[in-house]
């Protein structure tokens, strides 16, 4: 039956070509857009400059040590012998501890703000999370060193005594008053608090954008609120929340001052997270900076290059995941 329609009024294909609209911009607009485009490119320029300067200034280290720089577990400035084989794992250990603690707390908070909190409480909590993100890292560091560390020592002791069958909780050094002071565990806890607001605010935005129709659909099928969250909000926000968590890990990898104020710096990898001794690349740079000679400066630049490459990869992956995901596509435009 439907075929008759085309047979009655055949439409010639040639007439169907859309008219091409030509719009000429004025000269001021052309200039304007060019200026904006250059401003947009500035982030590429800055990233390129960072890479270029770090590569040039770390050349000496890579000439001397080659790839051995990444495996040697020593940092001897009197002998000009440098390697981040110990500090790199230490950085990752702190980041892992931070994300293990931060991700559940942050996602729970994000779901609570987006789905559970009533209007006024929601505004207050959004402000609290934003404020948490705005608190300077030095304050976290001071707070961690003087408030958290002495209060955490008992808990670390408890974990070490009762859960030492779990290899990272084993303590291999002698029990003294400072066994549990300056450990990666405490540094990781403080860094986790700094990652929480990043993960929370990004994933809250994503969760809040879950389509209203699908939510109502879930309720109409008799779902409880948690059932709706589990079947609609979380699947919708999965991509965006994954990206948010990775950005949080990126922040944890690069944290400097809080780690420096808390850990008892060492140059070898410390896999026993409860006992004293830890480090991160950023803390190494800041801690050794003021006393570094020309060669150590080059080694610190090389360490910075490694950190930059690591975080840029993690953060770019996060950014791409956010853009690709269903929820991220909604935020992009």
């Amino acid at each position: 039956m439907a075929v008759t329609v085309t047979s009655v009024r055949p439409v010639p294909a040639d007439d169907d070509v859309p008219r091409t609209v030509v719009s000429r911009s004025s000269r001021s607009d052309v200039v304007f857009r060019a200026v904006l485009r250059m401003a947009g490119l500035s982030s590429f320029v800055i990233t390129g400059l960072i890479l270029a300067f770090l590569i040039v200034r770390s050349a000496w280290t890579f000439e001397v040590d080659g790839l051995g720089f990444f495996t040697k577990q020593e940092w001897i400035f009197s002998g000009n012998d440098f390697g981040i084989g110990g500090v790199l794992p230490d950085t990752l250990i702190i980041a892992v501890i931070a994300s293990v603690v931060a991700i559940p707390i942050a996602l729970a908070t994000a779901i609570f703000i987006a789905e559970y909190a009533p209007g006024r409480l929601r505004r207050v909590l959004v402000a609290v999370i934003d404020l948490m993100a705005a608190i300077p890292s030095i304050i976290y560091g001071v707070w961690g060193r003087y408030f958290l560390m002495p209060r955490m020592a008992g808990t670390a002791d408890w974990l070490a005594r009762h859960l030492s069958w779990f290899p990272p909780f084993k303590v291999t050094i002698q029990y003294t008053s400072s066994t549990f002071i300056g450990s990666p565990f405490i540094a990781g806890l403080v860094v986790s608090l700094m990652a929480v607001p990043i993960i929370t605010s990004l994933s809250r935005e994503v969760f809040a954008q879950a389509p209203q129709g699908e939510r109502e659909g879930a309720y109409a099928l008799g779902s409880t609120r948690w059932g709706m969250v589990r079947t609609v909000v979380i699947p919708f926000g999965r991509g965006g929340a994954t990206g948010a968590c990775m950005l949080g890990i990126g922040r944890a990898l690069g944290e400097t001052i809080a780690v420096l104020l808390i850990v008892n710096p060492i140059q070898s990898a410390n896999w026993h997270i409860l006992q004293s001794g830890g480090n991160s690349i950023a803390a190494l740079i800041a801690g050794d900076w003021s006393t570094a000679g020309a060669h150590e400066l080059s080694a610190l630049m090389a360490a910075g290059l490694a950190l930059f490459a690591l975080t840029l990869i993690v953060n770019s992956l996060a950014s791409i995941i956010i853009n690709r995901s269903r929820s991220g596509a909604a935020t992009a435009d």
Binding site: I50, A117, L312
Partner: protein, 382 residues
């Protein structure tokens, strides 16, 4: 029958009947409250008994951790005794999820309170706000020395950094929101990635540029450049979000009147988003003023007043705190001064944050009460 008759009465008297009030779907019942309270108190008691009396454990945080686990279990059991499976799961998860928000609030309140209480010893001395550390040795009491030099350094550096990062950041945001094109996606990806860039990298880069390559000395201006690099992605990201919610109809109206793209952005889009853009800027300033690591690398720190950002070491509040604790951590008065400076820094951040909240209350194009009154007055006059 009764419902019909009351409805008729209500219609006659012209008032809505009680039965016509909207039904509140989610109400908190007494059972909910008592289940929650009971679980909290019961678990507290049990944890105290086991943790403090029976087992040889100690440490406040371990106590609260155990309490939380026991509380979750108690609540689940108490709920399971009254309600069905689905409701129990729903309510238990609601409680667990909301504890995340409570935890975050507790951390923020604790940090604010802690820096206030510990800083109290130093900030009550007038000289703490009016002197520098030039004539103060490690054993001098708190009645000598202060943070004036650090305040001056912080203000100078944040002003310069704002001057560099804000125009560039907003221009990038306008590019992303208004021009777009194939370039926009990689720029947006990179900007998002750079928001989590370790700030110390910015310090390394500026040091390599200014000190190693240009041969200049460490100075406050270089620190401002490093802080500007840290602030730039924050400004860009926040401003782009704001520019995107400027209503498209305003943009089209401007184009339809024959305005060029440049005039549309300058006269329509930026003024519409002005208050929210200021929020983005102020939040970035709050982030920038707390930066420690890059400033430490390229401006060092100092005990004396240095109001010239182009020459010599310059202290800021964060580097002052860091230096006092990292270098002089064994001296009580230095740690107390660090806490005082921490209080001052938190004060600045909280004030900036409050300003941002006040400015950012309105969405783009939404007028405040005062603006609306002003417009009404203008309309009445004409």
């Amino acid at each position: 029958m009764t419902a019909v008759s009351t409805g008729a009465v209500a219609e006659q008297s012209g008032r809505p009947a009680a039965s016509e009030e909207p039904i509140r779907i989610r109400t908190i019942t007494a059972e909910d409250v008592f289940t929650l309270l009971g679980a909290a108190v019961g678990s507290l008691g049990l944890t105290w008994l086991v943790y403090e009396r029976v087992m040889p454990w100690s440490g406040a945080f371990g106590f609260w951790l155990c309490w939380y686990l026991v509380f979750g279990l108690f609540y689940f059991v108490a709920a399971a005794m009254q309600w069905g499976g689905l409701v129990v799961r729903d309510k238990t998860l609601a409680v667990l999820v909301s504890s995340g928000g409570i935890f975050a609030t507790a951390v923020v309140v604790d940090q604010l309170g802690y820096s206030l209480v510990k800083g109290l010893a130093a900030i009550t001395h007038v000289n703490f706000w009016t002197q520098t550390m030039v004539a103060t040795g490690p054993l001098e009491p708190l009645s000598s020395g202060g943070i004036l030099h650090a305040i001056v350094g912080s203000l100078e550096q944040i002003s310069l950094a704002t001057l560099f990062s804000v125009p560039l950041g907003i221009a990038s945001a306008v590019f992303l929101a208004e021009v777009g094109g194939p370039l926009a996606t990689p720029v947006r990806t990179l900007v998002n990635a750079m928001t989590a860039l370790p700030s110390i990298i910015a310090g390394l880069m500026i040091y390599a540029l200014v000190v190693l390559s240009l041969g200049l000395r460490q100075c406050g201006f270089a620190a401002a450049l490093a802080v500007a690099i840290v602030m730039l992605p924050t400004v860009t990201r926040a401003s782009e979000v704001v520019l995107r919610i400027v209503p498209g109809t305003l943009r089209e109206a401007s184009f339809a009147l024959g305005a060029s793209h440049w005039r549309t952005v300058r006269k329509v889009i930026l003024p519409t988003a002005r208050s929210s853009l200021s929020t983005a800027v102020v939040l970035a300033m709050a982030r920038g003023i707390g930066e420690t690591a890059p400033v430490l690398l390229v401006a060092g720190t100092s005990n004396v007043m240095n109001a010239n950002p182009f020459h010599g070491w310059q202290a800021t509040l964060p580097t002052f705190i860091f230096n006092n604790i990292y270098t002089y951590g064994d001296y009580k008065s230095f740690v107390e001064r660090a806490f005082g400076a921490g209080f001052a820094l938190m004060l600045v951040v909280v004030v900036l944050f409050a300003i941002a909240r006040l400015l950012g209350g309105a969405r783009p194009g939404e007028l405040s009460k005062r603006q609306r009154r002003q417009l009404a007055r203008q309309a009445a006059r004409s």
